[in-house]
Symmetry: C2
Subunit: 234 residues, 2 copies
DNA sequence: AGCCAACAGATCGTATACAATTTAACCACG
DNA sequence: CGTGGTTAAATTGTATACGATCTGTTGGCT
């Protein structure tokens, strides 16, 4: 089977970084399905670079948990197991309250402005129909959590959240079922309101339950078809 | 200047992974000083591998924040700025309380056994003298936080903590001054006691202050000699 | 026909080769 | 004697080459 199509940008100046970003965007945007094989040769051909750079990009993505590289077999878009998915959300429950409290310390009126603006956009997308709008909605939903993280002014933490949100997106792509975060949008608003009211305890409470709700909306039964190899012990 | 000496293990079967681990151990153990250049050729010669594998290892370490790779200039043992150091500890304050609460849910008598055992070892090292004992003491101090993280049973979170502890170790190597965690050891014990007593609120409180104390023991004045290049914008 | 073995094609792992950039040395010149 | 510019060495960036491993197929054997 050939590797699924990637966006064929005009190859003016491509580096490891840009390849990595392109592939990651494609994964997070669900244009690359979980489990898809990412052949070094094919990807290299698409970007007009050698396997060397492709390998670098794939290795980096494997650190981020978006790609699995199996020795002598190649790289595949990550196919997170239910257990892995649970750990990702458990991790978010452990750190996002901390982020929220820290962000609140740094937030001024302009920050609330930005958040409200993001929520507006999110609400607008919920009204629309179609695959594209759906993708944008999921992305916006993640952006809310990322924006909160950015308001801590902490680059280390922000990178952790980048990774967690990206992997969450993969999990939702795999196991998500309903009209997704229809409720999530309202919960985002409630969280912002609580922060604005300086009621951080309540805001954290809402945040944890919000993450619970996202996870509860997943149907994580095993064997959506792939892990056979792992099912029988490597 | 030649690259500083690395442990010359008998080169039976070396892979990217083992190179990465060796270099990381050397950095965390302070056998490689911050700012040291890691020449691809030299490192490759030490391990009897080609630059290809070395580059992979260095790239991985750069993702972990232990190495900085500057384009066309090479890789250097990370030299965290005071700001970066603050962010690392701020991140730990944000997530370690969450870890503590989650770990507490999973802890049985045997887990407390393990923790107490680690604390014993830590106390023993405090009594000894010499560089080696000092190194072991710092390592044991980090291991306490790592063991707590491992008790969450969450591999994602554990990886985050691995990174944070390793980078903290670098920061302490750079900016640490006093007899270090002499007090830290007692604080570790107090934290375990509080957890055992099911007083998680207090345990979290102790944990946050413990991290505060570690950070307060640093002397983070700028310009320990290197950042000239960065001081003048790239 | 069914099954196992040998083979061929494809893909990955590692090393080497060459181009681009930086760093250091050297020498002319003020 | 210090300064600036040109050149050579060293180092990194990228591509290619070759060996190893895996996968799928074919052909012979029972």
């Amino acid at each position: 089977m050939k590797t699924a199509a990637l966006p064929d940008e005009d190859p003016i100046d491509v580096s490891t970084q840009s390849i990595r970003d392109s592939i990651r965007d494609a994964i997070v945007d669900r244009r690359l399905a979980p489990g898809t094989k990412l052949s070094e040769t094919d990807v290299g051909a698409l970007f007009n670079v050698s396997r060397t750079l492709v390998r670098g990009a794939l290795q980096a993505l494997s650190y981020e948990g978006l790609v699995n590289v199996e020795k002598n077999r190649g790289a595949f878009v990550a196919y997170p197991s239910p257990e892995e998915a649970r750990q990702i959300f458990a991790t978010r429950r452990m750190i996002e309250p901390g982020i929220l409290r820290e962000a609140a310390k740094h937030m001024g009126p302009s920050h609330f402005q930005h958040l409200r603006q993001l929520l507006m956009e999110e609400g607008r997308l919920m009204g629309e129909r179609g695959q594209t709008a759906r993708r944008a909605e999921i992305k916006a939903s993640g952006d809310f959590h990322l924006m909160l993280a950015s308001m801590t002014g902490n680059a280390v933490m922000q990178r952790f959240m980048d990774e967690l949100v990206a992997r969450s997106s993969l999990v939702i792509a795999l196991y998500g079922q309903s009209a997704i975060s229809s409720c999530g949008h309202q919960e985002h608003q409630d969280i912002v309101t609580a922060i604005e009211r300086k009621d951080l305890d309540h805001a954290c409470h809402l945040m944890v339950h919000h993450i619970d709700h996202i996870e509860a909306d997943l149907d994580m039964r095993e064997n959506k078809g792939s892990d056979l190899r792992e099912a029988f012990k490597l």
